[in-house]
């Protein structure tokens, strides 16, 4: 794989300049922070409430911003020009994901600080958050590749936001409708379960949660990479 740090850095810097000049997208980072602030004012929170701003960060920032950045590149034919330069597909994919990754890490950190949330198992939660970030980055990339404009991408990302952010809430009805238990396998639900297992010290369950998250991340990243290569051809 042909990867150049200088080329990745060039794409990252370009994306950063474009991002902070695009208020429609850059102001999105305030949403999870505002939600975290409101939740923190309510006092005693259960894990469902605690993870809502965190899961929303993944949907509204990681997936949404990534999909918009990719769709905008497609809309203005800049992605094609980028791929005609010496930048490899790996350079472009890593460079374009790096900015959103950094923003996600900062916003997640700020959300956890506002919520005064300190994970019971910091290492396991750290790995889980990184795997989740990779998964949502890939989801954003897939939506961005399937849409032609930023407008289409912002609509196309809605199912991802609804299913993955609000999926864990469905589990509240699982007692009445057992079929809904399938939602516990969502990455967003696994984050909550991981924290529960960490509190009780169930190591094997923690590992299962991390494996589930890793499978989601690997599958999504692989699909997005294949799709990216395919979509960049005019066939």
């Amino acid at each position: 794989m042909n990867v150049s740090v200088k080329r990745i850095q060039a794409i990252f810097v370009k994306d950063y300049k474009e991002f902070y000049r695009n208020y429609a997208i850059s102001t999105m980072v305030l949403m999870p922070l505002a939600l975290a602030f409101i939740y923190s004012m309510t006092g005693n929170m259960d894990l469902q409430s605690l993870f809502m701003p965190i899961n929303l960060t993944f949907a509204m920032i990681t997936a949404f911003i990534q999909s918009c950045l990719i769709a905008e590149e497609k809309e203005h034919n800049t992605l094609r020009s980028l791929l005609l330069s010496p930048a490899s597909i790996a350079d472009v994919l890593i460079g374009k994901s790096a900015l959103v990754f950094v923003i996600t890490v900062i916003v997640l950190g700020m959300c956890m600080w506002i919520l005064e949330f300190s994970p019971a198992n910091l290492a396991a939660m750290g790995v889980a958050l990184v795997l989740s970030t990779l998964f949502y980055l890939a989801m954003g990339l897939i939506v961005g590749l399937y849409t032609k404009t930023v407008m289409e991408a912002s609509v196309g990302i809605l199912p991802v936001m609804i299913v993955f952010s609000f999926g864990p809430l469905v589990l509240l009805f699982a007692d009445r409708y057992p079929v809904l238990e399938v939602f516990q396998w969502l990455p967003s639900a696994q984050l909550i379960l991981l924290e529960q297992y960490s509190v009780t010290g169930a190591t094997s369950d923690i590992i299962v949660s991390l494996v589930v998250l890793a499978v989601w991340a690997v599958v999504a990243v692989s699909v997005s990479a294949i799709l990216f290569k395919k979509r960049m051809s005019d066939e």
Partner: protein
């Protein structure tokens, strides 16, 4: 002289539509070749195949003696530049920021950007945001980006389609200078004057096939009318065959009587030739 581009029996189909049929094309290094054809003739498809954006359905494509698969490699991409018909510029960034990123991608010093901007006459505007530029200026920035790394081979898809005559002249001068330094150029155009002014050879592309190719002079000679048109002061117009004694006698007679207003050689333009060869129109 070595061969920079070689296409042999290249076909390209999209579902049932045949965009290219048995295209054979060879471009020598240091040559400027113009692909002339109307919209939909297959000009952009050829450029996309040569730049690795599309794979041919069949046939052989070689660039710099390497297969079309190699074109997708970074080291080969550094050897050519592309100007496409759609700008591909980041509109929220300035001209300078756009080109700076490409300097980094090509691992070039910033001085390369200034040279390229000088080439397209945009040094004084480099701090302007791309969103504030006219279409012609965007075209010039795209050209600056294509030549930033001094490529050995330049693909230009309608390079002056959005430019006014002054800037077109400026760009033509620059392209001649680049070519004099050894850059091979493949340009597509439906502007026959541009093709005639710039190209060493032209190829007529029609419905996915190259119908004719050669230097503008060779083609004009091959399809010339051996007839001159003489317009007299009385308003009469006569078409006379060249190289015939009777024609010379007539001319002498009219000249002695000072009756000749104008003589037209009736040399066909590239546009005329294209229509004769293909039965179609250029625009």
């Amino acid at each position: 002289m070595s061969v920079t581009i070689k296409m042999e029996n290249v076909k390209k189909s999209f579902s049932r539509f045949e965009a290219l049929r048995n295209v054979d094309l060879e471009i020598q290094s240091g040559e400027i070749l113009g692909l002339l054809g109307p919209s939909g003739a297959g000009k952009s498809t050829i450029i996309k195949i040569l730049t690795g954006q599309l794979d041919p359905s069949s046939g052989t494509v070689m660039i710099f003696g390497e297969s079309s698969e190699q074109v997708k490699q970074s080291k080969t991409r550094k050897r050519f530049g592309v100007l496409t018909d759609n700008s591909g510029l980041y509109k929220r960034l300035t001209i300078e920021e756009n080109l700076k990123m490409y300097c980094d991608l090509y691992d070039l010093p910033v001085s390369a950007m200034d040279e390229a901007l000088e080439f397209v006459n945009l040094v004084s505007s480099k701090k302007k945001k791309v969103s504030e530029l006219s279409r012609g200026m965007m075209q010039r920035v795209t050209l600056a980006r294509a030549i930033l790394h001094k490529p050995e081979l330049l693909f230009l898809d309608e390079p002056t389609s959005a430019l006014d005559p002054v800037n077109t002249h400026h760009i033509h001068e620059g392209l001649r200078k680049l070519n004099a330094k050894g850059t091979t150029i493949l340009l597509t155009t439906h502007d026959m004057y541009e093709a005639e002014a710039l190209c060493h050879r032209v190829a007529f592309l029609h419905e996915g096939e190259i119908r004719e190719s050669g230097s503008p002079k060779e083609l004009k000679d091959a399809y010339r009318n051996d007839v001159i048109e003489v317009e007299l002061t009385c308003g009469e117009s006569h078409e006379l065959p060249v190289n015939q004694v009777a024609t010379m006698d007539k001319m002498r007679e009219w000249a002695a009587a000072q009756r000749i207003r104008r003589i037209h050689s009736n040399e066909p333009t590239l546009g005329d030739l294209f229509m004769r060869v293909t039965g179609g129109e250029l625009s």
